[in-house]
Symmetry: C2
Amino acid sequence: MDYYRRSSVSTVPDAEPIKVGFIGLSYNKGWAVKTHYPAILQLSSQFEITALYSPQIENAISTIQKLKLTSATAFPTIESFASSSNVDMIVIAIQSSNNYSTIMPLIEYSHKNPNLKYLFLEWPMAATLDQAEEIYKVASLRGLQTIISLQGRKSPYVRRAKELISQGYLGDINSIEIMGNAGWYGYERMVKSPSYIFEMGNGSDMISTTFGHTIDILQYMTGSYFHRINSMIFNNIPLQELVDEHGNSLNEKVKKAVPDHLLFQGTLINGNVPVSCSIKGGRPVKKFTKNLVIDIHGTKGDIKLEGDAGFAEISNLVLYYSGTSSNDISLNNDSSATTGYDAGKEITEVYHLRNYNAVLGNIFRLYQSIADFHYNTKHLSNSPSKFIMQGFEFEGFPTFMDGLILERLIHTVYQSHFSSSVINVSQMSQY
Amino acid sequence: MDYYRRSSVSTVPDAEPIKVGFIGLSYNKGWAVKTHYPAILQLSSQFEITALYSPQIENAISTIQKLKLTSATAFPTIESFASSSNVDMIVIAIQSSNNYSTIMPLIEYSHKNPNLKYLFLEWPMAATLDQAEEIYKVASLRGLQTIISLQGRKSPYVRRAKELISQGYLGDINSIEIMGNAGWYGYERMVKSPSYIFEMGNGSDMISTTFGHTIDILQYMTGSYFHRINSMIFNNIPLQELVDEHGNSLNEKVKKAVPDHLLFQGTLINGNVPVSCSIKGGRPVKKFTKNLVIDIHGTKGDIKLEGDAGFAEISNLVLYYSGTSSNDISLNNDSSATTGYDAGKEITEVYHLRNYNAVLGNIFRLYQSIADFHYNTKHLSNSPSKFIMQGFEFEGFPTFMDGLILERLIHTVYQSHFSSSVINVSQMSQY
């Protein structure tokens, strides 16, 4: 099976679309209108926005009008929104520092909605690990199928890499190196950037977002969590220069409290593989290096993933593979294709979708997976009606548990830095 | 001044050549005959081999005959060799595990030779840090001008990079990444490789040699020692496959005790610069990456050094520079050339000497520096007659003190690994 191709079962369903209640969709700004909204629009047989909540009801009403959400109702309070039985799935895409104070009452009130099945949360989960643990717990107790937008797992390049690795085309992985430039944590700040992403304590910074998505992708591709890690965190650029949308200096410096560089190294549980990772703010002169490079080396082949932006989950990548076909490659199936007469032959693959819009595309594929899951459960008797975590499965989607495991790793990255020590994180995926 | 070009004062001297006594020169095997010997041969007005010591006198005699060392005497004991007043400089190029037991009596006996001025030792200095400290001490007390073969400092690419950095072409350095493949510590072992390099306790392994030379070069180029470091050391390949000189398997596995992978990360004292470093054994399929890559990023430009072999000190490299010329670049001199009308212009440089034999060339340049120093001291009244360390100077050559500082860092790399902690190494360069 080609795991990086879509499942064939997800056609237009012979059923009602999933009714989506949205917190954080605004017609004129933010992430949701650029990603979640067009994804839902393109999957209009599977999803339909039926409810919007905003603390300012007029914002919700304007968004309904401007986006012509003809089936949607604007709710003035979390209580009324959460209680509405016209919602199957709640999507939350707000500042992560507000997630906890929004979700806790939301889930409490949602007991009044017997139809609520899905809770879809934007990454990062919360401002602190404790909040994330509690969010996981209450959603779990409420019996919801959770989704966390670690959408890098849906990137076609990530899936192709995962497929090559799982089918043995790399042999034993023996070394991994990651380098990324996390643009907006560097020397310049776009004047229109929200200031909260440069302040500590919001749970959203270079470590949780740039590193978080990237390391989640790495674990997902290799099928292994980390064993031991060490990290060093830097704020070497305490003042950023404000620039306009054309990059011209406004001759004003503003304070930055969040990190602009992370050194991270560690070992994967599987194979004790050494992983070296350097993620930095800024976009230095880049003649020779891409802004994102993930090198995965194995005994039989190598993968390089490259991107123009240092954000693996929203960047259109290029995948390079080079390796030697061999009789010992254990393919899951279709083994005749690469064994036999051409064993020992060198194989090279360059995989790139020229017009792939990764910002939208990966979120779109996440919604596709939810639809696949939702409608399959009605037809396939042996499918579970709910699952706790995706783990490293090709199918499905990342859940709050997957998110929580990553939040724990990120928390430990800070711990390692502050304690100047190597930390064993091998128990992190226990629940 | 172009620091990467040779000093113009080193012409054929109007004086006797430096008389060299050699331990470890063998006409038919080893490192010295491929490097030190041809270097001395090409500098025959500056150096002349006058004495050889070997525990097997017949080896010394054969080497004198085969290499036609007409001025050389073979000595049967360290005592007689060290006592001979026909020697100005002793060169030692033997297994590093034998350095201590050779040098201690050598220096003791050398008091009988009033002409002895130079002691030139191959890297690594010794089997342990304690031995290295003591070797430094006795050589220092004996009043010798020491030389350690950290010859990467003489690589034209390293010097060009150092020049670009010191003249401000990178602006403030803000990130460094190093990746290397240390070929012979991988899955295969050439049947003719000496087995001691695969055993622990000899002081010569991937950490001391591959990493040691590379990190010395990095510190030298940037002009900064490290502040804090963390390391993780791996022996993931405990068995190597024996191969013949054509790379064909001999169907025999042999034990390897030394590391095959080092993860190292840390900060430079100057600028708190994050440095990420991954050095591994083996030569995996390499379509996309060179076996050595050193990326140095700065606010105004970037340098990439690439090599086909992971051993920076013996590999012919390519230097790429890309940056923006600017009025704030503080040139040491000749500032008119890059400021003024072309300020802000993008500059690119590719520096490569196609036929440069780096194995010999860097050692040759080390001998040139010794000759420059030796003959200059006779003409330039303000030159010191001896110096303790080169540090980060362009001129001169690395000494036992430079070597000792590096041995201390390497020792700490092991300490950091075994203690799972970040270690402050900022006091390491104190003497």
